[in-house]
Symmetry: C2
Subunit: 402 residues, 2 copies
């Protein structure tokens, strides 16, 4: 009974996420998955969450179980202020924080508030897939900006903006994962951070900085968020978003946006229509958890574990792939290695062979917003154990090398 | 620094919810609020939630804290099947259930999947405000269908459909809160339930049945959901949605949709883009809670408390309002009385006087999707205590009667 419904135009070309389709295969116990960006489950602070939950239900059960404010629970927002101060953005006003149901919702809300069909959005090339999918659902035109080991090339960005101007167009916003990019693993240099914000301000184009991974640095010095370069006064041209998913727990579905004053109203209206507010239960639990300081105690271990896993994967790749068959970045944090195979290799065509060999990855083509390239692949080292990483890379080499 | 951003067209006329603006006033401790549809906090089963949370973190912490499937956690969906069976819809296939972040998200997702700017949506007159706001954000044209004590008038619905047809238009969907309507308190009769589904099927117009309140029946016999009249085979023309918010806890932000087969794919894509999935933590906790049977034990008390509060409010209104100054329905369940004052009274203009007297309600005009009427008001009896109801109605009478 395949009914044809009169769906909205935005759904006409919508496809389910390739990554999430792959993840369905990845639950087979015989498969080692390098596909998902799932945090290492051994790092979940179960005792900490248990204590925070017990405390919340003991002292604040009504607040936790009742409806709450659309913009978020004040106690949780207060903790976000602390997290942001540690990241180099001090004294964020509570009014500028909008709590979201994961940072995915932040992406959806900014798209809803900003995009009409045909509007141009500038993204990294390669870009975070689930953001690209949101922008496509809002019928945006996507343009990729070339990236290298130092993140988005700001000269290429200026060239894109000039090219658009020559056509009488302008981008609605620039979307970037500036720190430990997904899938690239690349981190925008200090110089480019300043430059990027300058370009946004000069061109009056919103910059959306999505920052899920910055807590997961395992080597080198921290860089402050792009948004922090606005200085004393907030910039009206930057929206920052982040999430608890990668360093506390994705199951809580809690993220946040830091908005310029003029966008607080529209985003709050969009949030209210989307789900009234994010779970007050989870916000109270997260606030209690962050209050205890347990996270500060847990972070060194989180960073160390991801650092060891990244190193193990790089070692295994060096051991199993002959020189010239697979190049990859050496990330300073995050969850991903971004591999490049020889020209002419099609990593999408090789997925089935990998699955047959008992390993899975995400083919790179899916991350290109335009000008697709077939010879890349994304490998996540976050979820598997060290042993699985070694075994899985061996399987991968047997599957994809002739 | 009032920046003018180039917002999307959908935001041009968007306003914050009047109800939620009023609720900000309602937190003043001296104000008795009849405004919000907040469940009575004394009914929250804190011990039940505590036990379910402890159990979840003891036995299933990884499942609860990790990312999960977009469509929902299987154990929670299994419990929804049980809830639906009790409501008169047996053996719902798990594949047809999509877990949402409250039923508000269900409204947003169906709008996203179905509506292009200018599309027609048929709603009750008066209609659930937060649904109307969503449809307006998707730039729909709203048309109200006249209602009475038996809910949406199906003859008026057919007349609207015929009128649209005469103009070469057709509605994308019909949205209804058929049981204990918000704000009307009205419940669609058995006859009209059958008729409504017949009309939807004959005209091939989707029917969206939003059912947040049906567990809160305190008098009379239960009526099965409109969606249940599809019989043995599911109807491809009805989407059912509900939520835990009114009988477990809104703070969990958990709702669900029951979809016809052909809409499962598009809605899942839209859900994934919106927030990846609803909180796995909360889904596992809710599944454990529902498994224990504590809800079945709690429901009789929930119904009794709301019944007593409704009766108290009706008694107080009879006592404080002289005959002819305020008519209202006598609901069999839900959270609301829908009051009608004399022609010429403007309940919006009277809000400030009510606040000054220490009581608040929602002016009725805000619930009319078209053809606004000024002399109605919505009174919720759910949140205040019996004493507050008596005191608040006294204040209300002093404020709004000359």
């Amino acid at each position: 009974m395949a009914r044809v419904y009169a769906l909205s135009n935005r759904m006409k070309h919508a496809k389910p996420s390739f990554v999430r389709e792959i993840l369905k295969v990845a639950v087979r116990p015989d498969i080692i998955s390098f596909a998902g960006g799932l945090p290492a489950p051994e790092l979940f602070d179960v005792d900490g969450v248990r204590a925070a939950t017990a405390e919340t239900l003991e002292h604040n059960s009504t607040g936790a179980l009742q409806y709450g404010p659309t913009d978020g629970v004040a106690a949780f927002k207060q903790q976000i202020v602390g997290v942001m101060a540690r990241r180099g953005m001090a004294d964020i006003a509570l009014e500028r924080i909008l709590v979201t149901t994961g940072s995915q919702q932040g992406i959806d809300l900014i798209a809803k508030v900003m995009l009409d069909p045909g509007d141009v959005v500038l993204v990294e090339r390669p870009a975070y897939l689930a953001a690209v999918q949101v922008f496509e659902l809002y019928e945006a035109q996507l343009r990729g900006v070339e990236c290298d080991a130092d993140g988005m090339n700001t000269d290429a960005l200026e060239a894109q903006i000039a090219d658009l101007r020559a056509r009488g167009e302008r981008a609605k916003f620039i979307y970037t994962v500036a720190t430990f990019g997904n899938p690239s693993g690349a981190t925008l240099s200090l110089e480019r951070r300043q430059k990027l914000l300058e370009i946004a301000a000069r061109e009056e184009i919103l910059l959306i900085e999505d920052d899920p991974y910055s807590e997961l640095r395992f080597s080198g010095d921290s860089l402050p968020p792009v948004a922090s370069f606005a200085g004393e006064r907030e910039s009206p041209w930057v929206v920052y978003m982040s999430t608890l998913s990668k360093f506390v727990a994705p199951g809580l579905r809690l993220g946040w946006m830091i908005l310029p004053e003029g966008l607080v109203g529209p985003l709050t209206i969009a949030k209210q229509a989307a789900d009234l507010h994010s779970s007050t239960f989870n916000q109270h639990v997260a606030a209690k958890y962050l209050e205890t300081g347990r996270l500060e105690a847990a972070l060194p271990r989180i960073r160390e574990v991801y650092g060891r896993k990244a190193q193990a994967m790089m070692n295994a790749l060096h051991a199993h792939f002959p020189t010239g068959t697979l190049e990859f970045n050496a990330p300073s944090g995050g969850m991903f290695l971004w591999g490049k195979m020889a020209d002419g290799v099609d990593t999408l065509a090789l997925v089935q062979r990998a699955v047959d060999a008992g390993v899975i990855y995400v083919p790179g083509a899916t991350f290109f917003p335009d000008e697709r390239r077939a010879n890349y692949l994304r490998l996540s080292f976050a979820t598997p154990s060290l042993e699985q990483i070694e075994e899985g890379v061996g399987r991968l080499a047997r599957a994809v090398l002739d």
